[in-house]
Subunit: 140 residues, 2 copies
Amino acid sequence: MSATSLAAMLRERGLRLTPQRQLILEAVHELGHATPETVHNAVRERVAGVNITTVYRTLELLEELGLVNHTHLSHGSPTYHPAGEDQHVHLVCRSCGSIEEMDPAVLLPVCDRLRDERDFRVDVGHVSLFGVCGKCKESE
Amino acid sequence: MSATSLAAMLRERGLRLTPQRQLILEAVHELGHATPETVHNAVRERVAGVNITTVYRTLELLEELGLVNHTHLSHGSPTYHPAGEDQHVHLVCRSCGSIEEMDPAVLLPVCDRLRDERDFRVDVGHVSLFGVCGKCKESE
DNA sequence: TTCGTTGCAAACAGTTTGCATGCGG
DNA sequence: CCGCATGCAAACTGTTTGCAACGAA
């Protein structure tokens, strides 16, 4: 996502491209999985004075624009990541907190079955599976 | 879970069976999926003066005892449900908020694959799948 | 000048902690 | 009497909202 195309998307809706919005989107891309607070810190490393409120509002806006997605990993803050990338399922280790990504294709059989049997359409881009990663399993 | 066996479990750890603890556990069983606040309200319908703090502390205790489990359904409060019942996966409709339950067996192929390929042990009792239920799909 | 955007402060929801009281064993 | 358990108030985290000021078109 270049600054100019972001500007174009915003202009279509009568909105402006501001330094804050550009930096926040860049931060989400750099960080991969980031909470609003993490994004806030990353942005502030570059420029001072960006408010956490703006981060929240901008992340919401970027999600409306389809540029980022958010997921709820266990408790606490949601994490944002760039959209447009391949969708992925999150593997969250409850022991060390690490987040791995996985191809959602492995869930397709399950999704098909839920659609047929339960009439439920799973949003595969929004799935988090909790468990214990190999590293933590060893040291138990 | 009878009051006497709950009492026994508590005594094993040097803890007491109080009316609050008994009522809170009963409420979780009655409600099925309940947030701490919902439990609090349910308990207060029976007896006045039970503090929300006590609900939090007791739910945590009951979870340590293995009597209840909690899951994070999207944002906001966690929901508690009785353990010991069959484990189940939650199907959460993002549109109407309804919660259906599902046999986690449908996830076993996925879990096996993750264990073999990624060395990741999924906690099937803790899975929530987000999407749209049939009812909401119709009215779109 | 208009209106989107921001920062600040305050409100807000959910949760946790410290502390004094109180009751059971 | 000892120590678990509770209630209350206050702190705390994460998030949202109201409002005035700023600045680009």
